[in-house]
Amino acid sequence: MSVPQIKLSKITKTFPGVRALSEVDLALYPGQVTALIGENGAGKSTLVKTMTGIYQPDGGEIFVAGKAVNLQSPHAAFQLGITAIHQETVLFDELTVAENIFLGHSPKTRFNLIDWVEMNSRARALLDDIGASHIATDVRLKDVSIANKHLVAVARALSIEADVVIMDEPTAALSYKEIEDLFTLVEKLKSDGKAILFISHKFDEIYRLADRYTVFRDGEMVGEGLLADTPQNEIVEMMVGRSVEQIFPSRTLDIGEPILTVQNFSHPTEFADISFDLHKGEILGFYGLVGAGRSEVMQALFGMTHGTSGVITSQGKTISPKSPAEAIQSGIVYLPEERGKQGVILDLPIFQNISLPSLSTTSRNGFLRMAKEFELARTYATRLDLRAASLDQHAGTLSGGNQQKVVIAKWLAIQPNIIILDEPTKGIDIGSKAAVHAFMGELVEQGLSVIMVSSEIPEVLGMSDRVVVMREGRMASVFNNDDTLTAETLIRCAAGIEEQAA
């Protein structure tokens, strides 16, 4: 076989508390498409950022065309002919199409000024090349449709003499027709002899385009080979792994009456026809790929989103929360995914964070009673085993896991009926994870109902009584989490792969 155009050898990258990549290998060959496959958080994005010079690896080597290189900046990667097309591209609305394509490396005249004629003609050629002859080069980007913007981004990526093209979920935001066009383009790049890395969650795309595959799991490379020799089942098994057993608290199922009924819940753009029941004492898991609309549904239930339709019944009463304050009054609370932005208030003391939604009970006639606030904060901080020096230290001084405990304490303190947890253990250490899981078990035993949005399959399978799977803003399926429900089933359902006859 020929020499790989780019070869990564034993690349390691660690972030504080997390080993994002652990001695991974990857090789891309000219004229071949390699699919990079893995769950959310498997390390795919970190790898892309390492290959494009945004991150520096802590260990390992990168070879381009057989020579060891050091990609110390995006510019260095650019010059070595490595380019990436991202899911969401950063382009500039107020600049023209040609300017967007050549920003940072525009052709210059003798006087070191931009050579507009040359730039426009080269932009024209690039666009024609990728089948986008309908896009004018001199219009401002804001007047170009979303799909065409994506083509401009592709043209920008190809405006350097690239030998390695990385496509990070390029089809995520495209319609069916546009995806077809993109496939044609990939075939063309392939026949031009480019080495292509194709990242996608969609198996039909992978099997259609890619020649080779590499599977990542938890920051490690767990398999690679030729797609033609490998059935889907085998790849799904590699993605999930067999031995990532975590200990989840066992509990006796004691599920009561429905406490929350959602019928035909829809939003004009984000989701449609969501209907489910949540029972007393139940943990209802929500699984899906990133962008499936799970958080959007939950934030709408919590009154953050306007313009929804459908019927929500909580404890026999029809509710339509128009603000979080109203949702909280109906006993529904929401623990947001973005802890730092939406969850804790970093510069307020711990006790004030915890008491914020409970002020109406700790205060008297609108006047604060600090002693009550400290008492409340102490009760829940102790229950959650919060590690802090004092309750008046700023929440921002705590570790991520302990910040999450502050947010959970805040919500438990109002004694809700329903608690919605959006990625409750994302980005926190193993110890805090176990504490959060144990606590969820306690909650339902006390008769609370929990909705848990999670992208981590072991967590979904380990904690949920039932699992709702969402795909592209709709409910794909609801599963009872008995012994027959497997990770493979969930992944298939979320990615839209037909169940194969065994």
């Binding site: 969850g343 804790v344 208030i345 970093l346 102490r378 020096a389």
Partner: protein, 333 residues
Amino acid sequence: MTEQNAQNRNIADRLNTPLHSAVFSWPTLLLVVAIGLFILNVFASPYFLSPWALSDATFNFTEKAIIAFAMALLIISGEIDLSVAAIIALSSTMMGLALQFGVGTPTLVLIGTLTGLACGVFNGLLVTGLGLPSIVITIGTMSFFRGISFMILGDKAFNGYPESFAFFGQGYVWWVISFEFVLFIIIALAYYILLHRTNFGRHVFAIGNNPVAAQFSGVRVARVKFLLFCLVGLMSGIAAVLLTSRLGSTRPSIAQGWELEVITMVVLGGVAILGGSGTIQGVFVAAFVMGLISFGLGLLNVPGIVMSIFIGALLIVVIALPILTNMLKERRL
């Protein structure tokens, strides 16, 4: 703290006692500055220590401080109102207009305060309704309000306010204690309680630190901000009554440039210009500091234009100070 201590789950309420925190705080430092300025003034003029001179000195800041307390809450919440001086002009003009129809003192006071409140409602609706930055909106309403005032008055002035109306800006409650000073103390106490002792005040801090997380915690962010604009408008209306009563006339250029002095007072009082933190105690002491500075400069016969340079420089220094200390801290780390 060691790992073992953490295992005991003994989390203290506070690391420092409230007294310790109060001693090592900005308002305390500011108080030292105020005392220093006081002593300087004593040396600058032999007449300064007389009770009547001291009483006179308070008129320099009481009206501005009354607005500054409400402005402090607004800035802590992450918003600002640059139109306060223009609100004074409009309120004063409305009172003068009403005067032409021969209304009595109670009606005049009511019109002055209600005009201020109405301006606050207007600002609040624009900011919370449009979701635009308040600095932009209130620059707009600043020229809008004062523009109306100019349109009504031109280069003329309203005079001839009734004698009973003079009490608010010139009257004394007891001996040298003026009505304005008493009102200043009462309003300071009211805002201290509102900001530091009520749920509303806690919501203001939460919003200023992180409006998104506050919203997610069930705080009605838009409502709180709207009410703060109303309060600032109302206080500007009250200040308009006091100032008009003290001057005994209304010109469209009344209170020109006061918005800067009010904001300087707030920032000097330790309120973070980007929101999130601050105290009423700080603003209270800052009012005295500003009063002493302008009184001292007045005693030295410093012309008004130099005073305005001084106020501008002070504003820049107090805004830059926390940023510079942070830079120094980071360099040391």
